[in-house]
Amino acid sequence: MSGGSAPVKTNYRECVRAAIREALQNDERVFIMGEDIGRYGGTYAVTKGLLEEFGNDRVRDTPLSESAFVGAGIGAAMGGMRPIVEIMTVNFSLLALDQIVNNAATYLHMSGGQLNVPVVIRMATGAGRQLAAQHSHSLENWYAHIPGIRVLSPATLEDARGMLWPALEDPDPVIIFEHVGLYNVQGEIAEDAGPVDIRHAAVRRPGKDISLISFGGSLPKALEAARLLAGEGIDAEVVDLRVLRPLDTPTILASVRKTHRAIVVDEAWRTMSLAAEIMALIMENVFYDLDVPVARVCSREVPIPYPRHLEEAALPQIPQILEVARKMVSQGVNHG
């Protein structure tokens, strides 16, 4: 975790870049490949400058061949390298799913423990930039369903800066989702910010009345909702899942045991969402601690439309969280 050094102003994008840069500097086995990460500088400008610094060999522009270069990342990992594969966005990762699900996730178990795949696959995810139905997916839940991979969702600058290195140190495949809405988020982090834990959820704001459980691009919404609720005398706890697979169930349950109420905020379509899994876990483990049923605030079940007003109406928004929270708190039994 980060030391005590002076904080510096930065943003999420720069944090991801600093993490990649550091990895390239510290380990010769690390390289990065993906579409337009080099000459173009990255669609979201994350990798800008890296080609110039590290050269063609370690910063590799790939053809538009998602299956081939993701598979090549898996193979290179098997061959002793520590590849960072960038899939431009989760939307295109559909074209590489076979490699991830059938190869990366199965090799270790299916080979009886012989074959590790220490690959890291990063991709941008989520909606909110008016990119319409084919460019706005949130499929974290799909990936988090697959045994054999670790799925990370950095939502803070510290995590953007610190999750990559431990992911590279993990002997197994790790998928990192970066929400497109976060890249421009500004803030301060310690100058010597470094690796962070990639096993646990984090309580981002302690509270006693209700748990807002969220991750990735929805975390800022949950935090803002908590701030507003505080003004109304509702003390919300905000849990950032951080690790979507394997889920840190104890942290989730501990929060619900304390607050007796929970809302899951998840940008995915409601049905079969990650939010549903959180609700199932709570049902299975702390049912009797609940004052009211757990609720979820998710996306409407529509292909995400282009115009701002419709996109906003399709995605989870703060007023919805507030409304549900108020209702739950007013209904609930008081555990003095």
Partner: protein, 333 residues
Amino acid sequence: MSAKRASPALAVEKKHAHHLLREMIRIRRFEEKCAEMYTATKIRGFLHLYIGEEAVAVGVMQSLTAEDALLCTYREHGHALVRGVPARSIMAEMYGKLDGCSRGRGGSMHLFDVSRRFYGGNAIVGGALPIAGGLALADKMQGRDRVTAVFFGEGAVAEGEFHEAINLAALWNLPVLFCCENNQYAMGTALDRTESETDLCVKAASYKVPAWPVDGMDVLAVEEAARKAVLSVRAGGGPAFLEFKTYRFRAHSMFDPQLYRSKEEVEKMKTERDPIHLFTDRLQAEALIGPEEIAVMEKEIAAEIDDAVDFAEKSPWEPVEELGRFVTSEEAR
């Protein structure tokens, strides 16, 4: 800028020549307006301009009938315009308004007009290619001699979907016209950094698909090549592949700092290879058009575009209550 080389006499009738020029200028001006409206934040999301590549869409479209089908990429405003989708409904779509050709839901990358068999922009590189095969299969099975034209960038040739789709079309002898718009870059990646063999016709040939490279900056060359290819496809000769060598004068999208190519390269192409300049110069050299005629054309086009903007501005937003309409047909109401 004038045609210095002695060109052969143009084998084109005046009226038709004016039509071609007008269509190219329509696209150019329309997209210049789009760029302006993007800066004015009236248009949002991704916006991919076709400026520099107009000759391709205009030339190919001359051989397609109203019965033929079209599929394009996210860089499809030009194709939609030339296809006859009204500028109004395209501009309204770019604004995200209810009167847009996709109800405003698709935006720049997803113009649809099924009544004109315009099956949309597609935002997934290569994503439309298999669909094109299916439309052509439907025609074939139903005994209709229609052609399905599918446009895609040279970057898409690296996608597995391209190979699967062209093989299937060739194997089943489907009436598909593969129109590869080789503008030399896929975002920031030059062709020789994405393909070990940069002669794309060789790839089509490896499926036994007849393939021709075409100067995509010469609208007449495009028209001529497309006419031949469409004839063969329509006659049951199976798919054909045209590689249009062209160039994108603008950034890939509105967010692209163009680090991957030099200003000089772009300037040189703009100066020497602009399809509108080239064609205008040739027409003028042969006295097929004069400055006044061009001025009239520009004026008419400007009026059409102003009208489109006006229409888009006035068009309402789709009510939020209708967000759920058409997720499936049951929600159509």
